[in-house]
Subunit: 153 residues, 3 copies
């Protein structure tokens, strides 16, 4: 199945790729790599998941926030490639979690992004990952996710 077919099966309609919140661009291609800027859990112009994990937000909400960042990242990858089938391989997810003292749920929260990438891209969705805590996040976002992907010539 194609990535688009998997998105349909999951009931996901890709949004317009979110615009940057400042003086940068949402993705750049260099050679066979596309890198996205840090994606936040926007739905349209609404920050859907604001606050800190381990304080205002539950791990379940964090998982959904990471999944939403991944949906926004896939929208950027589609804008960059025109066709998600041109993505050969995800390479890297850099996951950053806005969190309160003592939070330890980073791996499970970021699986919200990783699990979606596996469902949408299958083996092409395999990726390396970093998972860091962040004391204060732009726009009070719960999660910030950057994606590196290898694309066809």
């Amino acid at each position: 199945m194609t990535a688009e077919e998997n998105l349909s099966r999951l009931g996901i309609t890709l949004p317009s790729p979110p615009a940057p919140v400042a003086a940068y661009v949402p993705w750049v291609r260099t050679g066979n790599i596309v890198m996205t800027s840090g994606q936040l859990p926007w739905v349209g112009e609404q920050m859907r998941y604001a606050g800190k994990l381990g304080a205002e937000l539950t791990d379940e909400q964090g998982y959904e926030a990471a999944r939403l960042c991944a949906i926004n990242a896939i929208a950027q990858l589609k804008a960059a490639t025109g066709d998600l089938e041109k993505i050969r391989q995800l390479v890297r997810l850099e996951g950053n979690i806005h969190c309160a003292p003592g939070f330890r749920g980073h791996p499970g929260v970021l699986n919200g992004a990783s699990d979606l990438m596996a469902e949408v891209f299958g083996d092409r969705g395999r990726h390396t990952r970093t998972a860091l805590g962040v004391n204060e996040m732009p726009c009070d976002a719960a999660v910030q996710l950057s994606v590196f992907a290898e694309v066809e010539d």
Copy 2:
């Protein structure tokens, strides 16, 4: 106009590229990519902007700190390429801000770096960006900025 002409127009003289503060190198080239180490707001051996945004430093000072990191990064890119015209495209700015609880000004502060890149490199200066808060920064630096750039063969 060339990048050097734009620097002149802005009244910026590139410094000697700052030396690393430990056992690493300031830039590496791999294929057509140059990556810099994390650049701090040094002027010579002086940390010009020390402290946390949202506490000791204003957003305006943060903007200047990010701009200074970008100047130091451009000095590294010149050392790496010998000629800034060999830079085809900036690819990525990884921006990290030393900040106190409740700080939300990351996008504006990092525009200090992004705006300068646009002024110096024009369309070649377009880049993806990440913007994270950091609880404690090496050398008490206000900002740490890493740059990825695509260069000519």
Copy 3:
């Protein structure tokens, strides 16, 4: 001397490369670059260095934690390449330190990783580096280290 000979000389036996703690893979190759996921200071299934620098852990323990992350990263690079002599050049260490308020020892702590890379790979071990503080780290790890390396065709 080869990297393996240097490891022997240092009395280091590479461990089995640590398994990811969630839904991602430990390394990906894209073109001539291998990137690892964030490596933590595991010894087998034991988190050897848990806690925060500047609170529960000394800088000396942090140095050892960073060194252990680097050993685990080398194990990943060996799994990725089959032979450490296929590594042309380390490119980047992204070092992240779990730390308490006021901590400033990032550069010295991360030299635990950088010094080992120099001892094992010699000139091929030269790398760019980032050094950030992290308020809360997955698995309470003291350090998280990601490695980018350029490998042979």
